[in-house]
Amino acid sequence: MRLSDIILLSLQNLLGNKMRSFLTILGVGVGIGAIIFLVGIGFGVQDLTIKKLTTSSATTSLEVYSGNPDLVKLDSKVVQRISNFPEVEKISASTSLPGQSAYAEVNTETLIKIVDSNYYELNQTKFLAGVKPKAKNEITVSNGLLKLFNISDPQSIIAKEIQLSLFMLQNQSDGKDSYEMKGLVVGVIDNPSQIVEIQDSDFSVSAIDYSRIKIKAKSVSDVAAVQKKVNDLGFEVSSLMEKLNEINRVFKVIQIVLASFGLIALAVAAIGMFNTMTVTLLERTREIGIIRALGARRKEVEKLFIFESGMIGLAGGVMGVILAYILSLFVNVGINLLAKSVGQEGLAIFRLPVSFVGGVIVFSLLVGIITGIYPSLRAARLNPLQALRYE
């Protein structure tokens, strides 16, 4: 008997009892749909989280810390070496010093960062007003600092002067332990902490060690190489890629948990399907007797049943995808309405990767085949004469 004929006969058997076939397929479809829907939410939330954390350039950036400053110093020589790595596109070194800032009779503790020209770009600084410093003694301030100065409109501080005091942590060659300067505000950055950034002044950055280096690799695939090389120099490196991998691992676990809930639904459907196949077997006992009497081999009877249950599984998988998709449309619309009503931007909480959908359909097919094994073996073992006498 040809394979195409076995498929044809199985299909005809399914169509011979449309209502029951449909209900069985629906049962499997609901189970598969539950898995797809739940895991789809997992994928969607994962995407949202990662999107909030990253932009395309953030995934190529790495941060270097000195780790153990007594052994290895993060100085201009190191910056020079790292910037010579072929995988490195840009590098930005900065150091943070404790200090004070004074404006309009308010004097407050401030973190003062000595930065270079790549700093704003590599940190993807968001400007609320103004631009980045271009000339000597020009500075940017954070909106967190403005709050302490009782300034609500960031534009109003632009072109004003702020009195700054920097406290040295390391001994300077001239022996001073603090440094005073007037900074001209040219930009306001979005940061809730109290920060002032100075790009260029009489104070020399190269004279002290950096506290942090930010590197932008040429591409995402270069990140690991850069990370390794910098590690080999004795520094601690953290990259967003690394954090993303961690997040992805967490979401894998969440997805498995969600999928297990769906599996319960599928197990119920599979039991229903098993029941249907067993009832079908009883109902078709006589028919099996006929085709065996006409010369069908046991293997062929077995295949007829396996294919039939396999087709139920396959159709159930496809139906599950459709059900989950329809449900997800409703959920996405609902969530967006909710988000807009509280003033948030719209978002998609549901995503289905094609490979996952394909995998689930194959899985459903397998469930169908496995469910059909026992009834098919029983059908194949029937004695043709006894089957013919079955009423």
């Binding site: 004929d5 006969l9 011979g16 006589r286 006929i290 009497a293 010369g295 081999r297």
Partner: protein
Amino acid sequence: MKRHPIIEVVKIEKTYDIGQPNEFRALRGVSFKIYAGDFIIILGPSGCGKSTLLHCLAGLEIFDSGEIKIRGEKMSKMNEDSLTSHRRNKIGMVFQQFNLIKNLSVLQNVALPRMLQGKSRVSRISRAKKLLTDFGLGKMFNRIPSELSGGQQQRVAIARALVNAPWILLVDEPTGNLDSKSAKEVMKLIVVLNKKSKRTIVLVTHNPGYLHLASRVIKIQDGKIVK
């Protein structure tokens, strides 16, 4: 020239439920030969063992001892697969209950044994169509069996039994479920198959009214041939 039998039955025995209180000896040393072109009627009351004999010839029932030789090949040596192949290729069976498959069209029912042989769709459909047309069922191709009368269903079943061009046609009480008019038609068809197409036929019945149609009659009582 010496004629060789298609089938040679030698002292076959069949006992059901051996060792049980309801032990029943269905066949007790039955022997006979079937030659090409024979029309044999096996006659006997119900329970005499005639259906058991037919099922043994079909390879649906395993006999306990004795031998059935199909053109010299011993059935006692055949395994499950060979018996299945025997049913598929060498015999055509017609049942009292018609035994058509209810979800398949008339045409598909007739083509089914050829499908089991692995023949192509074109070849099996054309042969099934020819047989059905010959049997006066040319307009019934796409009906399902339940839409046909009993006589028509039995003719479909006979077409199905012939589709693989078997060596021998085994017919079990073909008119048992038919009214007298349909019964007459079916019997007429069977006679034509024997006389015109030279089909070898073994027919089991309890109705002595058909005996005159046979080339040979085997009467069975209590599992033994009595005449």
